[in-house]
Amino acid sequence: MDIETIVNISLLTMLALTVVVLIRMKSLLAIALSSGVYSFLSAGLFVAMDAVDVAFTEAAVGAGITTILLLVTIAITGREQTVSKHKRFLPIAVITITGAALIYGTLDMPPYGDAKAPIHTHVAPHYLTQSSEEIGIPNVVTSVLASYRGYDTLGEVVVIFTAAVGVLLLLGNAAKRSGRKQ
């Protein structure tokens, strides 16, 4: 076994253990922190897959900001999970069917790392071979995100903008209103 396989197996094992711990815990504080651990482990996996840009985003957003926002939310809502009295049969059935459908969907996918997969034969060769001449920057990920696919990235920024406007509309005024009452 080479070192990469060992790293991958241990990271995936820790991911699975984190999920088991997450499911069994009742303290929302501990759950928020554990989901941060989960994001950080996924970031490690992305590094092992040579997707450093994705890993960077996952570590900064998933493990960093999301955890902080969850913690602040818990400060508003309370630390303990309320135990639901609903029957467990329906959720388990929904999860099993969804999981089975997702696994069935992966059967059609090309094997991991297959050079003939559609994603590697469509526009990717053009980006990889022409980026240094057409764009002239070393990081191809940035040249795809910011130049070839600049329109998509504009859409992403507008999505984030819209999310902020939504939060400010829903909670920003409420905070002001309660401030005025005091």
């Binding site: 840009d53 960077f56 900064a60 926002l69 990081n139 940035t142």
Partner: protein
């Protein structure tokens, strides 16, 4: 949030926060050469401000970065990004076709990517800070 944070926490943050902000700027302006870019840089910068607000109190952070200013920054980033697109259209190219910005097409691409990454960074950072401010105000 907690103005009575421990002495050790306050002093460690005094050392860490400038380094985090500097790293955010590095990620912002080095995204063409290494991993990173506006999105990550914005989040890292916001994390520095949020850490400051958590340790020294939100009011102190808002004295440096008031809520109003942050809200303007949210829109400014998107406007900068879309503005680059409009500028390329006015110069005779397609929307976000940076090649018309300057004479040499590689320099033009550099400038275009620099500007739109800046727009992304400003909006993402401001959004994270604004959401944190709002939730924290909601806490009280």
């Amino acid at each position: 949030m907690n103005p009575r944070s421990s002495l050790i926490l306050r002093e460690v943050c005094r050392l860490v926060i400038p380094a985090v902000m500097l790293f955010a700027l590095y990620v912002q302006f080095h995204g063409e050469y290494g991993p990173g870019g506006g999105f990550q840089a914005g989040v890292i910068f916001a994390a520095a401000v949020i850490l400051y607000a958590l340790v020294y109190g939100r009011q102190k952070a808002q004295r440096i970065l008031p809520t109003e200013t942050v809200r303007y920054f949210i829109a400014a980033g998107v406007l900068l990004y879309a503005g680059v697109g409009v500028a390329t259209m006015l110069l005779g190219g397609n929307f976000l076709d940076y090649n018309v910005l300057l004479q040499g097409h590689q320099q033009a691409q550099h400038l275009g990517i620099f500007l739109i990454e800046l727009g992304v960074g400003v909006t993402v950072g401001a959004v994270m800070i604004a959401i944190f401010y709002t939730l924290d105000e909601f806490c009280e």
